[in-house]
Amino acid sequence: MGELEQKLVWESHTRRKAWTVWGFWFSIVLLTVFCWLEMTEDTIWFFVYDAPVQAADLIDRMFPPEWLYINKLYKALWDTLNIATLGTLLGVILAFPVAFLAARNTTPSTKFVRPIALFIIASSRSINSLIWALLLVTILGPGILAGIIAIGLRSIGFVAKLLYESIEEINSTSVEAIESTGASRFQTIAYAIIPQILPAFLSITIFRWDINIRESTILGLVGAGGIGLFLSSSLNVLAWPQVTLIILVILATVVVSEYISARVRSLLI
């Protein structure tokens, strides 16, 4: 009797679970179909059907790349590198205190300071560097300064989030031990916390630098300097062979920076 009852309860439990899972997937399908219909409402299907022809035409115009154009790109590449590197430095310097204010075990107040720090992190993470650049160009004028600050602002959230997570994971008894020697708050940070998070910090920084190289290649589209500036002007005059070359150069830069970042990070670990 008891066994049977149990079985019944168990069955109805799994059956309800099966229904919820099924309902979950069904609502996702429904949502997707609805979104698809809404999204394609304004789509001009003629352009879509015509796209293969356009693509063939475009590829025809893009090749061969204008190889000699590379001589004009060196300075722009140097600017791109500077935007990424200096922007990363700026972001890291700003992210460091924010991470300490956001980590539960180091924040001066969980009620007041921590939410502010978390809001800074969330805003910086939600807004792409291209949007920051768009804003900063209207404020500071075109040039790599706007790019550097845009990259810096975007990096704060990324670096601070990963950093505060690693601060929250540190061994707390070492911190207790340093406190028990009579160390001040800053001494405790310098002796007990920073040595523990340093490897993570360096690795996060280099990881972000790699991403920033990638992002800084396009900031020129909105006037914030670097190789994107040339991409934008070549696109404007429909100089497709130049566009091809610039994209090849961007791809090469990204591959090289990814290689460097992976090498340095493996050295750190």
Binding site: A177, T181, G182, A190, Y191
Partner: protein
Amino acid sequence: MLKIEHLKKRYKSGPWVLKDISFEVPDGEIVGLIGPSGAGKSTMIRCVNRLIDPSEGNIQLDDVSLSSLSSSKIREQRRHIGMIFQEYALVERLSVMENVLSGRLGYLSFWRSFLRRYPQEDIDNAFEYLDRVGLIDHANKRADELSGGQRQRVGIARALAQDPRLLLVDEPTASLDPKTSRQIMRLIQSICREKALSAIINIHDVPLAMQFVDRIIGLQGGEVVFDGKPDELTEDVLTRIYGDEDWTDVKPDDEDDEQESEEAA
């Protein structure tokens, strides 16, 4: 002289972890604090150096009342109280020497400690303490390269570097094998004797405690249920502290210990 009067502690509005504890530790006495897990041993010693703030009562070291100090003043007093931890609590990515020198942090300005510019006297002393605990050759190794017993010795040297008047020791042997445990306890005991230091040692290994301490305080449910010499610790008393169990095995084995000292020498 450490004096604890009517110490009480509860976390927020939870139950009382410590209920009215009073005892005194004269200079040079080694006190073993025993009791089941959850009896409040760890809270008890953390109240002394205010890693945990007591709810009520008075704690007095010599002529300073620790329990009433503001949080900025307590730092000055913490320098005089060395603490040794169960999991060693070293900063593993710093060198052994830096870990020992970190015992001096309470005496140094931020920048001097940040730049590692310690007074020559501190460095000399640190080498002496490392020598005392037998790790002089490991000074520049990273702490995570050492074995458990060696790490605990660094922890002891760090506490010594504070030039303390009192040692708080929290389960020093819980993560160590039996032989290393004895060596560590013997080291703590002989250092306390040399420097006429008093110490409170939390320990759950009763035979080990009986062998190395001058006095035992039994804690049960946040209250002192025994306070006396190790040889007064009868089966009755143990039952009072830990509950019913067969205690016939719990006797310090002197023979074994002598053998071990020979090995160590």
